[in-house]
């Protein structure tokens, strides 16, 4: 794994004294999809802002593919595309004009074929001559993505890309993100929809109050912090947890009609099988087995909530 973005001891204190980032360290691997999660005001946008050049760091360094983002900002920024959170567009420009502008701004020679590809990928080709102001919110979001891709960046930042976007567009967008990743583009996104991060990301970082609380591979994170919650519906009421099950950490539902079982970590399937065998051997009849894996959202709330 080669690192394409290295953030070291990055801090930001705004003029009003608010410390938005506190010595954040983070390394992003080439070609991965990294999801940055955190509550509002956690420092996500400040972090992205510093890497992209919108915000000045108070201390620390950012290295983009070997180029220091302050000393060698031209080479560093050339590699980055940013899709901002706000729908900031020039309403009076046409879609094509906007894309040409973006490409030029990043120092690339005109390439109509590339712009056409980007527009077609985002289903914007038919709208290329329309004024951006005449497009719907979802289409404007696509235009912002197209603008960010106009200069063929190697790293794409998506700051809350699916906020206020309908289901269909959201699905298209993730489809596009996957295609970009297949082409080798590194993607760093922030999102409020945690299930999206769960679905898309290779690794996940959780940031809160300016501190990066954890960075972990999604599967490992789910395994380490996830839980499986099993509910076994019984055909006959029980008064107490059977003695044979006592050391398995099993609870009886208040109505006595179900046994519940919670297991930390992801791999507990053999335990469940063992449990079911005991039930059969004890002659306890059951009518349903329902197992629920905790989502990233539960993990996230648990993590952040602990600090409140």
């Amino acid at each position: 794994m080669t690192t394409i973005l290295a953030i070291e001891r990055l801090s930001k204190t705004y003029d009003n004294g608010f410390a938005a980032l506190k010595e954040v360290n983070l390394a992003i691997a080439r070609g991965e999809i990294f999801a940055l999660l955190g509550p509002n005001g956690a420092g996500k946008t400040t972090l992205i802002g510093i890497v992209c050049g919108l915000v000045r760091a108070s201390a620390g360094s950012v290295t983009v593919d070997g180029f220091d983002s302050a000393a060698d900002y031209r080479n560093a920024r050339r590699k980055i595309g940013l899709v901002p959170q706000e729908l900031s567009t020039n309403q009076f420009e046409s879609v094509m004009e906007a894309l040409r502008f973006s490409r030029g701004l990043f120092g690339k020679a005109p390439d109509p074929a590339h712009l056409e590809r980007v527009l077609r990928d985002l289903s914007l080709w038919d709208k290329r001559d329309q004024r951006i102001g005449a497009l719907s919110g979802g289409m404007k979001r696509r235009v912002l993505i197209a603008k960010a891709l106009a200069h063929e960046p190697e790293i794409l930042f998506l700051d809350e890309p699916t906020a206020g976007v309908d289901v269909e567009l959201r699905r298209d967008m993730w489809e596009m993100v996957r295609r970009l990743r297949d082409k080798g583009v590194t993607i760093i996104l922030t999102t409020h929809y945690i299930e999206e991060a769960e679905d898309m990301a290779d690794r996940i970082g959780v940031i809160d109050k300016g501190e990066l609380m954890l960075v972990e591979e999604k599967r490992a994170l789910m395994r380490r912090l996830g839980q499986i919650h099993v509910t076994i519906g019984l055909t006959q009421k029980l008064d107490a947890v059977p003695a044979a099950l006592c050391d398995l950490n099993i609870d009886l539902a208040p109505d006595g009609m179900a046994l519940t079982y919670t297991q930390k970590g992801e791999d507990c399937d053999d335990r469940l099988a063992a449990l079911l065998k005991i039930l059969v051997s004890q002659g306890i009849e059951f009518c349903s087995v329902n197992s629920q894996r905790s989502s990233l959202e539960d993990i996230f709330i648990d993590l952040v909530g602990r600090r409140r």
Binding site: Y14, D15, G49, C52, G53, L54, V55, R56, Y73, R74, N75, A76, R77, R78, I80, L82, P84, E86, S88, T89, N90, Q91, F92, E93, E97, R100, F101, S102, R103, G104, L105, F106, G107, K108, A109, K147
Partner: protein
């Protein structure tokens, strides 16, 4: 040097002019034409010649500058304020471009537009009153210099402004009155003693007198002082812009 970026900004800014063609070009031309009808043809025919120049011709350089100064300031200020206001500034800030390139793009486009306007007004004036230009090359060079200086000033204004009022107030309340009082319609030699002294504190007097000298070879002031002052303003505005970009003032938090 990121030439593609300069070109992108320059084309984009001129594109804005193109989209608002009527507002950008037609309205200053119409208002200038009105000045010529009223002051040049109607009143001018009853005015004495000033230093041997017919009144209608005498006001031409001042009228050109009246539009060029206000348009340079408002175009450049609007050009950089608009992205700040609607949020598209993020793209400029995240792009691999230096402050100088941003400046050349924005100020170059605003100055280009002003020069074109100046030439259009010149042509319009020529339809109303007959006149010859004594030093055409100097006149054009001076027009470019003034356009650049005031576009730079407008750029600073657009960075400083935090609302549309502030954006409009300077061209409307400062540049326009100073140009009117700066000898567009009269020679400052026509002012009574004290007022002539007061008028010398108005920098625009020097610009108009200098520009008029390139037209007719007449000036109430030394042309070199005019040129020096214009360069002085250019250097001052450039210094302020350099400071702005160094500190990130109103651009990067």
């Amino acid at each position: 040097m990121n030439f593609y970026a300069i070109r992108a900004i320059y084309i984009n800014e001129l594109g804005r002019t193109w989209r608002t063609l009527f507002q950008s070009i037609a309205s200053p031309v119409i208002s200038t034409a009105l000045y010529f009808v009223v002051f040049g043809s109607a009143i001018g025919s009853r005015m004495q010649a000033i230093d041997g120049v017919a009144y209608g011709a005498f006001i031409v350089p001042g009228l050109i500058l009246l539009t060029v100064l206000t348009e340079s300031v408002s175009n450049a200020s609007f050009g950089i304020y608009l992205p700040r206001f609607i949020g598209t500034i993020y793209e400029l800030l995240s792009a691999p471009i230096s402050a100088l390139e941003v400046l050349v793009g924005f100020v170059g486009a605003a100055a280009t537009k002003s020069v074109i306007l100046g030439l259009i007004i010149f042509g319009t004036a020529r339809l109303f009153v007959p006149f010859e230009v004594a030093h055409p090359v100097l006149a054009f060079g001076y027009l470019v210099l003034i356009s650049m200086t005031f576009a730079l000033f407008g750029f600073i204004l657009g960075l400083w402004a935090d609302g549309f009022e502030k954006l409009q107030i300077i061209p409307l309340m400062v540049i326009s009155p100073l140009t009117f009082l700066g000898g567009t319609f009269y020679s400052i030699d026509m002012l009574p003693g004290v007022w002539r002294q007061v008028a010398l504190f108005n920098p625009i007097v020097y610009l108009i007198e200098g520009f008029r000298w390139t037209f007719y070879g007449i000036s109430a002031l030394t042309p070199l002082i005019s040129l020096g002052l214009t360069f002085g303003l250019l250097v001052l505005c450039s210094a302020v812009v350099v400071w702005i970009f160094k500190t990130g003032y109103r651009l990067r938090s």
